[in-house]
């Protein structure tokens, strides 16, 4: 938005161009969702490569080495795409989210920089050795390299999720009225943020599930065509056992992630559960329902008694706060935030004003709630009751989207557990090839873990709205003062460029999978494997 004020639109603040905000959000969502297609597969495949190569080192059987090389080649294509699409996201903080970058860059920038320096460099260095070191390193040496690639991938996810967790639970930072930004007070608190720990294990385990389904589905395709049977059977055994363990872990770790959110993001939990009013504990879990934002109620609700209370609070006597009660509380925080805002205005005019400083300190934690008012008025101190009400209700994320995204994600997760359990059973019985119906199901399940992972991302990030940083900075205040034309141009560019990348990625993967270990010379024995890919 240019410095000059655009005309007012429908009772909104003249300071904020909501069209620009929506476009910037769309662009970030597009790039993040697209990037997140590659991340979980990198995480999952890298660990499966470690398992396969460790089996080779322990047994000395050549087939496990050839398997590692074949799946490693598919990993390489995916890895390159993940890197290319990840870099653009970090640039966007500077180009499209300049105020966000200024306001919280002091904290948010540190884990992102550490991700590049400590994780990505490790991963990128050893991925080269993985591909070109087969004939140059000892067996154990190469296994260590593969392990370091997997470790680098996981560390990369850790640092990114530490940054992301700070957006959900901003600990270890304080707002400085002089610099007008949040400043780091305790890096230890940022590092050991409980949300980061819960999110990390949940996201990494979900990545392992994606990798396992990928291997399972491609192997099923080979078995359906009676090709590469030796490699496909072993690959399915690895994918089924690893996938089963990981999919069960995802449930436990997801539960932990939800429990942590129920302590610091009550509104997100209430929206996911369409919990409009606080129920008498223990609250029931809505297995089905049609939540309506207009009527603030859920139609055709089918509730399982006690379940939500047990999951969200791990007790039978603690309530799960409802949306109406949380909005009432946010109304109070907006009032407190207006105190902080008014004191901040005085402090900006006179930094030596001790009374204003004291008043600001008393209400500083609620400053972000006053900033919500800037969507409706240019002067939060003079906000009307209707504007305060609108701001309080703006703290409620889109309930139907969260309600159904969460349930679809959970449903897909349960289906994948059944898929892995069946694959594990048939694999242990050596009867996979006899059950062609199962092989077909396994193959057609290929996109499902990605759908689940993207839905999980929507629950976590769309559920954080209206906040960029929960309780600190509303999303609409974080966008750069750029023009709509610029964002339309870059968004169109991303859409075209990413579509082209997707076509190239799918073409390369399909081509390599169709050629398979036999066509590429990895297997059967006697065929000399290619020196490097």
């Amino acid at each position: 938005m240019p410095e000059g004020k655009p005309p007012r639109r429908g009772g909104e603040s003249a300071l904020i161009d909501l069209g620009l905000v929506q476009l910037s959000r769309m662009q970030f969502a597009l790039t993040a969702l697209y990037h997140f297609l590659f991340v979980p597969l990198t995480l999952g495949l890298s660990m499966i490569l470690v398992i396969m190569e460790a089996t080779y080192v322990m047994t000395g059987r050549e087939i496990w080495k050839r398997m590692t090389r074949f799946w490693g080649m598919l990993f390489g294509i995916n890895f390159a795409m993940g890197v290319a699409t990840g870099i653009t996201m970090e640039f966007q903080f500077g180009t499209n989210w300049a105020y966000y970058a200024h306001y919280v860059g002091d904290i948010f920038g540190a884990p992102l920089a550490l991700e590049g320096l400590l994780a990505f460099f490790l991963e990128a260095t050893f991925v080269g050795l993985f591909f070109f070191g087969w004939e140059r390193l000892s067996r154990v040496g190469h296994l260590v390299v593969t392990g370091l690639v997997a470790l680098g991938s996981s560390l990369s996810a850790l640092w990114i999720l530490i940054a992301n967790a700070w957006m959900q639970n901003p600990v270890g930072a304080r707002f400085n009225p002089q610099t007008m930004r949040m400043e780091l007070a305790s890096f230890t608190q940022v590092l050991f943020n409980p949300v980061a720990q819960a999110k990390f294990v949940h996201a990494v385990a979900a990545g392992y599930v994606v990798g396992s389904v990928f291997v399972l589905a491609i192997s099923a395709w080979y078995l359906l065509r009676d090709r590469n049977v030796d490699i496909a059977r072993r690959s399915m055994a690895v994918a089924a056992s690893f996938g089963l363990a990981c999919s069960l872990s995802v449930v436990v770790l997801g539960d932990e992630s939800g429990y942590v959110a129920s302590e610091n993001q009550k509104m997100k939990i209430a929206a996911i559960e369409a919990e409009w009013h606080t129920e008498k504990p223990p609250a029931g879990f809505a297995a089905f329902g049609l939540p309506s934002v207009k009527s603030h109620s859920t139609a055709a609700e089918i509730k399982i008694p006690w379940l939500l209370g047990l999951i969200a609070t791990r007790s039978i006597d603690k309530p799960v706060a409802g949306i109406f009660e949380l909005v009432a509380h946010d109304r109070e925080r907006i009032a407190s935030g207006r105190e902080a805002y008014a004191a901040l205005q005085l402090l900006r005019a006179d930094p030596q004003d001790e009374a204003a400083r004291e008043r600001f300190e008393a209400h500083r934690d609620d400053l972000g709630y006053a900033l919500l008012l800037l969507r409706y008025t240019d002067e939060p101190a003079k906000a009307t009751a209707a504007q305060i009400e609108a701001a309080a209700w703006s703290t409620v994320p889109n309930v139907p989207v969260l309600f159904w995204s969460f349930r679809l994600m959970v449903g897909l997760g349960l289906f994948l557990i059944a898929l892995f359990a069946t694959a594990f059973y048939f694999s242990a019985q050596h009867s996979l090839r006899r059950h062609r119906w199962f092989l077909r199901i396994a193959f057609y399940s290929l996109p499902l873990p990605w759908v689940a992972a993207e839905l999980g991302w929507i629950v976590a990030e769309y559920g954080r709205q209206p906040w960029a940083i929960d309780g600190v900075l509303p999303t609409f205040l974080g966008v750069s003062t750029t023009s709509m034309a610029n964002v339309v141009l870059s968004l169109s560019g991303f859409a075209i460029f990413y579509s082209a990348l997707a076509l190239i990625d799918v073409y390369l993967l399909v081509r390599m999978i169709r050629r398979g270990p036999d066509g590429l010379g990895y297997w059967p024995p006697g065929v000399q494997a290619p020196a490097a890919h």
Partner: protein, 83 residues
């Protein structure tokens, strides 16, 4: 194969590699400069500092103005939450 022939072949192989690497590097640098020019040059940079953030949050509009408005509300103290 004579010794001189082998040395000559190695030299030509290295020459080709050097030329290709140089071209690749030049191409990369050109792509980076184009990216910088298109998206990151000073013309594209949004000047963001304490003052512009203050303007963004409408704090400079009425220094001190409306300060009493917040006093009317029965505001909870810092750290109070609904549990």
């Amino acid at each position: 194969m004579g010794m001189g022939e082998e040395v000559g072949r190695r030299h030509s192989w290295r020459g080709v590699l050097r030329r290709e690497l140089s071209l690749l590097m030049l191409g990369k640098i050109a792509a980076l400069i184009l990216l910088w020019w298109l998206f990151f040059s000073p013309a594209h940079r949004a000047p963001v500092d304490a003052a512009s953030t203050g303007r963004r949050l409408a704090l400079q509009q009425q220094p001190g103005g409306g300060a009493d408005a917040g006093r009317e509300a029965a505001a909870p103290r810092r750290g109070e939450r609904l549990d």
